[in-house]
């Protein structure tokens, strides 16, 4: 019974779309039809990770709402910290809409930092969807901090943080802690944020951050037990690119507010610019779907329409919070704004960050 209804609805939708295309006939609104075709969604990461899960969640919805209901397959091309698959896309993909790329903060960071393995240019591509996420920093009560009001107690203390590497997403907390003037000792070589959280639970480190869903599932119980104190969230960007409190954590201040508490003025300067650029690339604009260089406006519009339809699909609305967390994926202007903010960096700011990574953490990007 259900299947007949859905088929009928699908058929009706198809006829409606076809009718609309015929009556309007305007070239700007013409949609590319993908009937009977297969779209390869390149994910430059291995199976089972965050980006892969994200793509596999979205793929069936995309297939359902693209004109002609093409098969959308997720193709994993891992390697080189996601630079290999992305390079391959930049080099090979044709702008026919049959190859799309899903990138992540780990793809944006090497690009922003000028990693020698990067042979792709974000500005050549057209963004059709952006999936944000968030993160929360927290400390151990052993630091003498029981709520955010005690943040001054952190000054002058030796804090320890378990890091995946200075050029990973951990660069964002690193810059945030620097802005707050905290003295943090970074211990590298952790396999993921989960391992970092384990080190926190063991008491080996006393400051940490987790992405939103991991924070809710794994740190909230610790907060309730009184063994972790949330400090701040990384915030979200509104459509104009201004930082706002994260709606998932409305009670938590964002870095900008904590900065004011500590320094008595709003943050500014190159270090803050660096934080903003990498925070956007790492969280607000963490996941992106892009079309290759040379994609026509018609094609971009086809994809954006598909995403608009996905976001309105009741089945999508029912399931996406469970699978992806409460951050709404966006397209159109909001996606453009996040794309621009997350893939551009002032060359001087970049030079400063690269210099800092090299002098303080021995990272040599030019090798």
């Amino acid at each position: 019974m259900t299947s007949t209804t859905s088929t009928r609805r699908g058929a009706l939708g198809y006829i409606a779309a076809a009718a609309a295309a015929v009556t309007l006939g305007a070239p700007a609104l013409a949609q590319t039809d993908f009937s009977g075709q297969t779209i390869e969604w390149i994910i430059p990461f291995g199976t089972g990770g965050g980006s892969d899960t994200w793509a596999r969640f979205n793929a069936p919805f995309l297939s359902k709402h693209l004109p002609g209901n093409p098969t959308v397959v997720v193709v994993n091309e891992p390697g080189g910290g996601s630079t290999r698959g992305t390079n391959l896309f930049a080099q090979r993909a044709r702008p026919d809409g049959l190859t799309i790329l899903g990138t992540s903060g780990s793809t944006q960071f090497p690009y922003l930092l000028g990693d020698p393995r990067v042979r792709y240019e974000y500005q050549d591509w057209s963004v059709v969807m952006v999936g944000p996420t968030g993160g929360v920093a927290y400390v151990s009560p052993s630091t003498g901090v029981e709520s955010i009001d005690d943040v001054a107690n952190l000054q002058g203390q030796r804090l320890v943080y378990a890091s995946q590497g200075a050029t990973s997403l951990d660069l964002v907390p690193m810059l945030a802690f620097k802005l707050l003037g905290l003295d943090v000792n970074y211990v590298f070589g952790f396999g993921g944020r989960g391992d970092g959280r384990l080190a926190f639970e063991r008491g080996e480190v006393n400051i940490d951050y987790q992405t939103s869903s991991a924070f809710i599932n794994n740190v909230t119980p610790l907060v309730e037990e009184g063994t972790a104190v949330p400090l701040m969230s990384w915030g979200v960007l509104d459509e104009d690119g201004n930082p706002q409190r994260d709606p998932t954590f409305p009670d938590l201040p964002i870095l900008e507010e904590v900065y004011e508490m500590v320094h008595g003025e709003a943050p500014s300067g190159p270090m803050y610019d660096a934080y903003k650029a990498f925070n956007t690339a790492g969280f607000a604009a963490q996941k992106m779907v892009v079309l290759p260089a040379g994609a026509s406006e018609e094609l971009v519009e086809t994809y954006r329409q598909a995403w608009r339809d996905v976001f309105a699909d009741p089945e999508y609305l029912d399931t996406f919070v469970a699978a992806l967390g409460s951050y709404e994926q966006v397209t159109d202007r909001a996606a453009e704004a996040l794309f621009t903010a997350g893939t551009n960096i002032d060359p001087e700011v970049r030079a400063m960050v690269v210099e800092m990574l090299e002098s303080e953490y021995n990272v040599r990007l030019g090798d």
Partner: protein, 670 residues
């Protein structure tokens, strides 16, 4: 508590649950039997079906898939000497010699029955352990994990073969190869020389296939007969089950080891098998023949690796930290189903945890049972003349190899490591020692650095660390008494004595042992390169590889010294060519056999894998196997058809060559 058990049991023991689980098991079995694929490929096949399914059924399907993979990959390990996945590398050591002896069915049924028992015992252990798991897992800090890595490395003592010096040198070789890529402490890149492929380090599957599968293929090509020396399969599968029952205490111990070590996140599943294997070698006193086809060498790792999957569930469910590749896939599937791992899995979701743990046990029974039934018919493969089987095996290892990163670089690296493996085998350098070094290189370095950062050198005085040091010391002591040897000594010495003429001393030694001496000198040169590269790095980036390379160089120098100056029958000298000469077996050339493997890689570099595969098959069957055209066409079409079907089901692109760089071709040629 009791009501939770009942609720979990009623979840599992429904027809629907078992039915979906069976689907998972069958898909997993079909995929897992093919080396290199495993859980990841299985998941991508299954994902489209997960949508719209209710959570328990979808979970049952996923668990069925995950459970059967460490079981089904045993087929390739035992029958062809191809480690199907990292979980079955230790099984090759005794399983394949058994197949060569004509006991394939016995080895397989012992392996599967051990898997079955291991899976069940793992579930029993976990049922109690799950409640105290959080504090226990948290008790293993970087300091304890470092000592566990050292414990793993101490297994080299057991696996070193005749000469301990060579074993240590081989292990150091593995440690240096394992340190290629980003340094854990600083992220700086070591020994990459601007090659993109090396930035991520060499994939484990390539090392496993190169060290174990390529040398066996080369050896069989040279001998030119079926894998099994006998024309019948000998003692059947019932014997294998009896073997497990006779060694019930060993099976029990190894299952326990597997479940517990699997539960500790961060050590990596691969080590579990070797620790179980090493444990068997250390403790079996009754007529051990490890390395030459001792059934207990099959039982130990197989009972451990199924129990390990159960153990690996704990960090996955409780902390969201997957213990290995299969668990990462399982975690991804769980998230898609809307189940979030975390402390609630031992709280409000405890019944779900028990459902998962016991489903895994049940899936193990279903999977192993199915495999036992299939053991006898599939073992007949070992009776096929090798020249007909060889092109399939070469295609299979290349196919498995490029699953690592899906590039031509995988195949080139496989060939290079394969050549290394061929000569290590010939000169009695223990390959398992290299593999253990490789697997533990990153762990040992990372955890040592972290332990020193967190606790200073006082980390050595932590209670957990001292306990593990005690266990390690005991293991080394036991290991020195019982060592596995891959080579047989007696005949070698006879030939060596003949070749060195009547003379003694360095000149005569060099005459008799020149190939071995050259190999050792090359190893020494590699260590020199390692030292030279380490000196370019910052202190934290260089200290580990520098120490390991210096140690490796020192031990290799000792090997060289003993080869040149040692007595004619010194244990360090080993050359299977001499052995073969003594046996009077006619052998074809090594280089010819390597060239056949290389030709498939070279053809891929030119025309891409799809065209290369067909060309290679026709060439091999016509020129080498001298098969009729009809046979050639049937076999080629069979293999190509199978590979293409599999690849299209998995949306897989083959590695391309020069042709693909020049022209845009449709799949499968793209």
């Amino acid at each position: 508590m009791f009501d939770i058990f009942v609720s979990a049991l009623t979840n599992i023991l429904t027809l629907q649950h078992i039915g979906y689980m069976m689907i998972g098991v069958i898909v997993g079995l079909m995929i897992g039997i093919f080396p290199g694929l495993g859980g990841i490929a299985g998941l991508s096949l299954m994902i489209p079906f997960l949508y719209g399914m209710d959570t328990t059924s979808a979970l049952a399907m996923l668990i069925g898939l995950v459970a059967v993979i460490p079981t089904s990959d045993t087929f390739a390990s035992v029958l062809m000497g191809i480690p199907g996945s990292s979980a079955s590398q230790a099984t090759v050591l005794d399983g394949f010699p058994m197949a060569k002896r004509g006991e394939a069915a016995r080895a397989l049924s012992a392996a599967f029955f051990a898997s079955l028992v291991g899976g069940l015992i793992g579930a029993v252990v976990l049922t109690g352990f799950v409640l105290i798991a959080r504090p226990v897992i948290l008790a293993f800090s970087s300091a304890e994990l470092f000592m566990l890595s050292v414990f793993g490395l101490s297994m080299v003592g057991v696996l070193a073969g005749k000469s301990l010096v060579k074993g240590v040198a081989a292990c150091a070789l593995g440690l240096i190869i394992g340190s290629i890529g980003g340094a854990p402490a600083t992220g700086e890149f070591r020994m990459v020389y601007g090659v993109d492929y090396l930035y991520d380090g060499i994939p484990l599957i390539i090392i496993g296939l190169g060290l174990f599968a390529v040398p066996e293929i080369v050896d069989l090509l040279r001998r030119d007969r079926a894998i099994s020396e006998h024309n019948t399969l000998g003692a059947g599968w019932f014997q294998g089950i009896r073997d497990v029952m006779k060694n019930w205490w060993l099976t029990l111990r190894c299952s326990g080891i597997g479940a517990l070590i699997g539960a500790i996140p961060g050590l990596g599943g691969t080590v579990v098998d070797w620790i179980a294997y090493g444990h068997a070698v250390q403790t079996v006193k009754d007529n051990p023949k490890f390395g030459q086809g001792d059934v207990r060498g099959v039982i130990a790792p197989e009972s451990a690796n199924n129990a390990k999957e159960g153990g690996g569930l704990l960090p996955t469910l409780l902390f969201g930290i997957p213990g290995g590749g299969a668990m990462a896939v399982f975690l991804g599937g769980m998230v898609l189903l809307g189940i979030q791992p975390g402390p609630s899995m031992v709280g409000s979701n405890l019944d779900l945890t028990y459902t998962i743990v016991w489903s895994l046990a049940l899936a193990n029974v279903l999977g192993a049972g199915l495999c036992i039934v299939l053991a006898v018919p599939i073992s007949k493969l070992t009776l096929i003349p090798f020249k007909l089987l060889a092109p399939f095996m070469i295609a299979v290892i290349c196919f498995a190899g490029f699953q690592a990163t899906r590039t031509l670089d995988d195949l080139i690296t496989l060939l290079v490591v394969g050549v290394l493996g061929v000569y290590m085998r010939r000169f009695g350098w223990p390959r398992p020692a290299l593999l253990i070094g490789f697997v533990l290189a990153t762990q040992a370095e990372t955890y040592l650095y972290q332990a020193v950062q967190f606790y200073g050198w006082e980390f050595l005085t932590r209670t957990g660390v001292m306990i593990i040091i005690g266990i390690t010391a005991g293991s080394i002591w036991l290991g020195l008494r019982a060592r596995v040897s891959e080579a047989t000594p007696a005949e070698i010495l006879a030939v060596e004595a003949r070749d060195s003429g009547s003379g003694r001393g360095p000149a005569a030694n060099i005459r008799a042992r020149l190939p071995q001496i050259i190999f050792a000198a090359l190893a020494l040169a590699f260590f020199a390169v390692g030292i030279q590269d380490a000196l370019k790095q910052s202190f934290l980036g260089q200290v580990f590889p520098l120490i390991m390379a210096c140690a490796g160089a020192a031990f290799t120098a000792v090997v060289l010294g003993l080869l040149v100056f040692g007595k004619p029958n010194h244990a360090v000298s080993s050359d299977t060519e001499h052995e073969a000469q003594a046996e009077g077996v006619p052998l074809r050339s090594t280089l010819g056999a390597i060239a056949w493997v290389g030709s498939l890689v070279a053809l891929t570099a030119l025309f891409g894998f799809a065209i290369a595969l067909v060309t290679f098959f026709v060439a091999f069957l016509k020129l080498r196997a001298k098969a009729s055209w009809l046979m050639t066409v049937i076999l080629t079409a069979g293999c190509a058809g199978f590979v293409l079907t599999l690849a299209s089901a998995l949306n897989m692109r083959f590695p391309g060559g020069v042709l693909q760089d020049l022209y845009r071709l449709p799949w499968p040629f793209s």
